[in-house]
Assembly symmetry: C2
Homo-oligomer: 387 residues x 2
C-alpha cells in the first residue's frame, strides 16, 4: 500500500442550516477542500460520501453522484457509504484505500447530514435506524438509554460521579466557544449542568450532543505527488475500521466498546505508535460519558480512570492528552454523516498549527468515530508531514 | 493489484417475501455463498452490503453491521454502499478492491432490498430518492418518464418499433420461465404486450420490471487461495465503476448513457478483451428499451441496431450474444440493492455450466448495473477459471 497524505480540508459551520439543501452544504465543504489543496479537480479519481439518514429525512439518495456532478468532477466512481454515526470515518478510510491501493492519485471525501429540516420525532425515528430494531428496537432503549446504562456501569464499577462527568461537559462546551465552526459553545458551571433537564437518568441536557446540519470534506493525495499541493501535507499513518455487536444484548460489557478497543489496537499496530505518542484526539463524545469510556478504550487513559483524568484537567489543552479541543460532538454538534470527516478537519488544523483552539506542539493526532450501538468504528492516526 | 476469484454464490428467490425481514433475506443468501465456497467464515476480512432504500422504507440502516453480526463474522469492516440501482454492483467492486489491494484474502458481498412491505406510493416515493430531486424532481419526470423519452429518441433516430421492443420482453419473460429464482416469467405474444396497460407512453406494463424483495451474495477470495475453495473458481477480469450526469438535463443525448459507455470501455481495457469475446451478459433492463440502449452502449451490438438484433433473436440463447438468459430485471425482478449482485450470481452459474437456462459453451461473461438516471454504473467481466 502506498503512503497517502491529506492535502486539503473544508467545512461548513455545524448548526442550523434550514435554508440550505444537503447537496449545497456538501458542495461548499468539498469545494473548499479542493481549492485549498491546489489539486486540479480533473485529477480526482474517486469520491466517497458519508451520510446516514438523508433517505429517511430528505428523500434523497445517490448523493455521492449528485455531489460529484455538481462539483464538475470527472466520470469517476462516486460512492455513498453508510455505517450510522461512523459513516464519515468510513468514507475517509475508503478514500485512503483508493489511493493506497494505487487505483488513483487523488480522492475526495465528503461527510454531510441535515437534521434540522424535520420535526424532533422524525429525527428521533431516523436516528433509531442505527439500532438493530428487529432485536433491540422493541426494548424501547434509544441511544440516550444505552449511554445512560453505560454511565451506570461505569459509576458502579469505578465510582464515577456527576461532577466528574460534568468536567467533560465544561471542557467541551468551553472549547466550543473558541471554535467558530461549533454549534453551541458555552461557559457552564457544575451547578448549571446538574440542574439541567433530565433526558435519560443519569444523562441530563448538557450531557447530550445536539442535532445539527453540516458538511466537512478532505482531499487526499498519494504522497508521491504531495509536493504539487499548496498546503502542509499531513501523513495518514493509520486508517482502521472495525465491527462490534449490532445488538445491545450482544455486548458482554456496557462499560466498553469492543469495536473501539480493536480499532485502536490495529491503528497503533499500523502506525507503529502507542497511546503515549498521541498529542491531540477528536473522539466520539455523542454523550459526555462516551468521552470517558472512549478515552479508556483508546488506551489514552488507564482503564477506570477516564472520569478522574477529566476531573483533573488532564484531557484539556495543556494536559497529558488534549481531547476534543474542537468542542467535540457535545459542543460542535453532530451532523451524523459529517462528524467523522469533521474530526479529521479539526486534527489537520491542529497538526498544521492553525487551529483556533490550538494545542501547543501538536505533532501526532487521532480521530475516533463510533456508529450505532458500537456496531461500526473507525480510528485514524495522522502526523504533521514535515515532523 | 492481485488476481481475485469468485468462490461461492448464493441467492434467495426474487419476488414477494412480505413475511421476511430484510436482514433474514441477506443472511440466507450470504450463508449460502459462504457454505458453497468452503471458506471458513472466520477468514472473511471485509463485508460490503449493497442496499438502496431500506432507510426510507424500513427504517433500517447499518445493515452491513447487523448482517455481519448475525452471520457471526469476525470483527471486520462491514460497510453499506449505496448508488441507487447500482448499489449491488458497487458493493461487488469494493469487495474486489479489498482483496485485489491485498487488505484481505476473502471478502463477502451481499445485495438486498425489500420493496413489497410498503404501499405502492411509498415505494414510488422511495424509488424517486434515486433522482436529483432538487433539479429534476420538480419536472415530475419519474423513471418511466425518463425511459419513455429514451424510447422516443431511439425510435425517431433508428425507427424502433413496438414489435421490436416486444421481442426483448418476450425473450426475457420467456427466459424467466426457466429460472426458478425469477419473480414473473411468462409466455407472452406481441398482441398481449401491445394491449397491456399504458404506463408512460410508449412504455406499457410488460416493458417495466416489477418491484421485488430478494438478496444475493458472492464470496470472493484471492486467486492465491483459490485451490482451498470447493467450487470452480471464476476469475474477475474487470470491475469498473463510473459516474454519469445526475440530472436528466445534464445528459447531452437521451439515446445513450455515458456512464455505461465509459464503464464498458474501461472494462474492456482492464480485461484485455473486446465485445466479441463476451458470451453471456446480464444487463440492466429496468425497462425493455433499456436493454436495447445498454446493448449498444456496451458495444455488444452496433449503434442503432439494438432493436433489430433483438427482433432477429441475435441476443437470445444461441444467438450472437446471450443477453439476460436469467430473465433480466423484467422477469427476475428488481430488488434494487440485490440486482447487481444477482447478475453476478447468474453469470457465475453460466460460466460453471450449471445455469437452469444454460448458454452453451459460456466462457466469458459480463454484468452491467445502472443507477438512477445513469448517475452510477458498474461493469464487470468474469471468466471461467480453468478456461
Amino acid at each position: 500500500m502506498r503512503d497517502v497524505v491529506i492535502a486539503g480540508v473544508g467545512s461548513t459551520t455545524f448548526g442550523k442550516h434550514t435554508d440550505r439543501s444537503i447537496e449545497s452544504l456538501a458542495v461548499s465543504a468539498a469545494a473548499q477542500a479542493i481549492v485549498e489543496s491546489g489539486i486540479d479537480r480533473q485529477r480526482i479519481g474517486a469520491l466517497y460520501l458519508g451520510n446516514f439518514i438523508s433517505g429517511p429525512l430528505n428523500g434523497k439518495e445517490v448523493l455521492a453522484g449528485i455531489v460529484g456532478d455538481q462539483l464538475g468532477l470527472p466520470n469517476i466512481p462516486c460512492t455513498k457509504v453508510e455505517g450510522a454515526c461512523a459513516s464519515g470515518g468510513i468514507a475517509f478510510r475508503h478514500a485512503w484505500i483508493a489511493i493506497a491501493s494505487g487505483m488513483c492519485d487523488a480522492a475526495l471525501v465528503v461527510g454531510v447530514e441535515t437534521m434540522t429540516h424535520g420535526s424532533t420525532s422524525q429525527v428521533t425515528a431516523a436516528l433509531n435506524c442505527a439500532m438493530d430494531n428487529e432485536n433491540d428496537g422493541k426494548s424501547g432503549l434509544t441511544f440516550p438509554g444505552l449511554f445512560g446504562l453505560a454511565w451506570r456501569v461505569h459509576a458502579e464499577r469505578y465510582g464515577t460521579t456527576r461532577d466528574q462527568v460534568s468536567a467533560v461537559v465544561r471542557k467541551n462546551k468551553g472549547n466550543g466557544l473558541r471554535n467558530p465552526l461549533a454549534q453551541m459553545g458555552k461557559d457552564l458551571t457544575d451547578e448549571q449542568i446538574a440542574s439541567s433537564a433530565m433526558i435519560c437518568d443519569p444523562l441530563q441536557l448538557y450531557d447530550c450532543c445536539p442535532a445539527s446540519d453540516g458538511a466537512a470534506a478532505i482531499l487526499l493525495v498519494a504522497k508521491s505527488i504531495a509536493k504539487e499541493t499548496s498546503s502542509v501535507p499531513i501523513d495518514i499513518l493509520a486508517a482502521i475500521q472495525t465491527r462490534g455487536s449490532a445488538r445491545i444484548a450482544g455486548h458482554p460489557d456496557l462499560g466498553t466498546f469492543e469495536a473501539t478497543v480493536s480499532a485502536a489496537e490495529r491503528a497503533y499496530a499500523q502506525s507503529g505508535l502507542g497511546p503515549g505518542d498521541i498529542d491531540v484526539v477528536e473522539l466520539h463524545d455523542c454523550f459526555s460519558i462516551a468521552e470517558i469510556i472512549d478515552s479508556e478504550d483508546l488506551g489514552l487513559v488507564p482503564r477506570g480512570e477516564g472520569a478522574i483524568w477529566a476531573a483533573e484537567g488532564r484531557t484539556g489543552n495543556g494536559g497529558d492528552v488534549a481531547i476534543n479541543a474542537s468542542g467535540g460532538l457535545l459542543s460542535k454538534g453532530h451532523p451524523v454523516g459529517a462528524t467523522g470527516v469533521g474530526q479529521i478537519y479539526e486534527i489537520v488544523h491542529q497538526l498544521r498549527g492553525t487551529h483556533p483552539n490550538q494545542v501547543a506542539n501538536a505533532r501526532i493526532g487521532m480521530t475516533h468515530n463510533l456508529g450505532g450501538t458500537g456496531v461500526a468504528c473507525t480510528v485514524s492516526i495522522l502526523r504533521r508531514g514535515d515532523a
